[in-house]
Symmetry: C2
Subunit: 355 residues, 2 copies
Amino acid sequence: MKKPAAGNVASKQTAVTAVDSPPTLEMVAKEAGVSMATVSRIINGTAKVSAQRKSAVDAAIAKFNFRPNPAARGLAMGKSTTIGVITQAIDSPFYGEGLRGIEHYLQQHGYAALFMSGNWNEQDEERCVAELLGRRVDGIIMFSGRLNDAALSAYAKKVPIVLSGRRLKAPGIFALPIDDQQGAVLATQHLIVLGHRRIAFIAGNLNHPDAVERLDGYRQALAQAGIAYDPKLVVPGDFHEEGGMEATLRLLSSPSKFTALFCVNDQTAYGACLALYRSGLSVPRDVSVVGFDDLHSSSYRVPPLTTVRQSIRVLGESSAEAMLQLLNNRRPQISLPQVELVVRESTGPAHPARK
Amino acid sequence: MKKPAAGNVASKQTAVTAVDSPPTLEMVAKEAGVSMATVSRIINGTAKVSAQRKSAVDAAIAKFNFRPNPAARGLAMGKSTTIGVITQAIDSPFYGEGLRGIEHYLQQHGYAALFMSGNWNEQDEERCVAELLGRRVDGIIMFSGRLNDAALSAYAKKVPIVLSGRRLKAPGIFALPIDDQQGAVLATQHLIVLGHRRIAFIAGNLNHPDAVERLDGYRQALAQAGIAYDPKLVVPGDFHEEGGMEATLRLLSSPSKFTALFCVNDQTAYGACLALYRSGLSVPRDVSVVGFDDLHSSSYRVPPLTTVRQSIRVLGESSAEAMLQLLNNRRPQISLPQVELVVRESTGPAHPARK
DNA sequence: ATACTGGTTGCAAGCGCTTTCAGGGCACAT
DNA sequence: ATGTGCCCTGAAAGCGCTTGCAACCAGTAT
C-alpha cells in the first residue's frame, strides 16, 4: 500500500503547489538548501545553527506549514509525548474537572492526554493500564483508582506514575493526596458550631481510603467537641447520587434521629437532598447538609450546597505538572492548596424539634 | 541518544529473561523461528499462514506479551488509529456524556480518542484542529462547535469529520443533528397541556443554531395552540447556569408575567431554579420549569427536572460509529433515536394567581 | 605559512513495523 | 518424470525523524 495521497473522503485538489500529503522534514530541508539534520536541530533546538540557515529553514517551515510527524519522531526518540490518564468515568463531574486541569497544563507543554475510564472496577482499570502501556505513553496519571498498591508499584517500573488523591510511596510513583481528614473535620465542626449534635455521616464504600479518612475526620471533630460517636448514624453510600438517596432513606426510617447530614461527597449530598425532599423535610430548616468536593453545580443547587472545597481542577493541573517533572528526572516539589469550607445555604442552626 | 533501556525513574531489574525495553516484532520472529513479515501478517490477518507457524508465533507473542509499537505501525501505515474529539469543555456535564459514548465505542474498535476543549471560542477551536492535524489523527469528531461551515469544509479535505449535533452538508463531513425543534415542541406542548399560557423561553446565545431551532419549536407549539407569541417572554442566556439565573432575574423584574419557563438546556434550567428560589418562588407551584438534554444530575435536582431527553451518550457512540464507517469509505447510515419528553416534578398545572 | 582548535554541518544508521516482490514448495495435469 | 500454477514465505525497501560520528570551515597560535 503506497499510502493514498490524501484523505479517503474528499480529495481531488487541483491547486498549484499543494501535493496534498503533509510536508516532510526532507521537503523542508530541500527547500531551505540544508540537510535534514540541520532542520531537525533547529526545530528541537538541539544544537547551534548559523543565523542565516536558521532563517532559511524557518521560512521553509512556514511556507509548508510544516509540523513534524509525531509517529516518526516518537519512533526515533522512543517516546510519544503523550500521557495516559485514568479516571473511573470521564463523564463524572468530579473527574471532569480534574481532566480539564490536566488537559490545560499538558497542552501548554506540548503533551497530549489519552483519557480512559476505569468504570469503577479493577479489571477495567487494569485493561486501561495495559492499553496505555501498549500505546507507549510516557507516563500515567491515575485518579485514586481501584488498583492495589502492589500492582501499581509493578507498573511504575515500566512507566512513571502520578497518583492523584491517593497516598502511596514507591519508586517511580509520585502521590498527591487530598487532605480528606482535615476537610471532614472542617465540615463537621461547622455543623457543630451551628448547634447540631446528632450529625449523620453518609460514607462512601468503606473499603475506599477516601471514605475512611473522611470518617476519621468526622469522628475526630465529634470527639473534640465532646460528642459521643454513634455508629448508627454512619451509613455506607457509593459516592453517587443513588447511594446518597438510599442511605438517607435508610437513615430516615431508622429510629436514630439527626438534624444534620455530612456526606462523603457532593454527589452523595445531591441524592440525600432529594431523599429529604421526598420525605417532606426541608433543607436547611429541618436538616442541614454538607458535601465534599465543591463541584461547579453545587453552587447552583436549590439551596446552594455548603461543602468542602478542594479544587479538583488544581489537583489535575498539579498532577500534570508533577508528571512532567518526573519525566525530567526531577523529584516533584508540589503541594496542593489547603482544603477549605464553603458555607452556602444548605446548612443552618440546629432546630431541636424535628426528627 | 541510544535510548535508555527503561523508564527514567525506577529501573534496575535484575530479572532473568527480562530485558526491560518492550519486546519487538523482531524478537517475536526470532523466537518463533520465522520472518518478521510472517509475524506481521499473522497479527494483522493480512494473509494466510500455515497453522503450524501461526501457533508458534502466537506462543511467542504470548510469551513476550508483545504489543506492536503504535508509533512504528503508524509510521509505516500512514495512520494513527487515533480520533481527535473536540468539545467546548471536557468538564461540562453535557459534553462529558458525549465523550463517554465516544470513548466506549472507539475503544472497542481499537481506536483511541484524543480529547480537546475549544473553550467556547473559535480561536481555541482552531488551535485544537491544528494540533489534532499535527498529531495526524485519522479523523475528527466535533461537537457542534464554533467554527464556521467554510472552515470546516476546508479541514474536511485533509481529514474526515463528523459533526455531532449540527447540520452541514459537505464532502468529507458527516453531520448528525439533534432534532432540536421537535424537542422544543414537545416541551412547550407539555406546558400548554398543563394549562400554561404565559410561557417564557430562556434561549442560549441566539446566534447559535441550537438556540434558534429550539426557539422555532417553541413558537411553533405556541402557534399551534393559538397562543400569541410575545417576544418579551424570550430572553437570551448562555447555555450555562449563570446565564439561566440572570435571565430569570431579568424576567422576574420585568412587567411581563409568566407561569412557566422553558429553558434551552438543563444547565440553564438549574440557574433559573436558583433564581426562582432566591425570589421566594416555588417550583412547580408558582412556576413550572422544563429543560433540555436530560443530564444525569437532572433527575437528582430538587425537585427533579422535567426535560427533553436526547441521549448525549448515544450521540457520542453514534458519532464514533459514523467516523469508523467514514474511515472505511462507507457512507454512514446512522440515525439518532427520537427526542422524548421526560416528565418529572418541576412542572405542574398552571396556577393563575401568581405573577 | 602551517598546524591546531572549536564550533557548524552533513552523512547515514537506525527506531519498529508494513508491504512489495520474487523465490520455493507442493499438488495436479500431462 | 516434467511442466504449470498457486500458495506460503522471506528479504528488503521504505515510512519521517533523530543523532553519533566524521568532515569541514574559520580563526588562532606557532
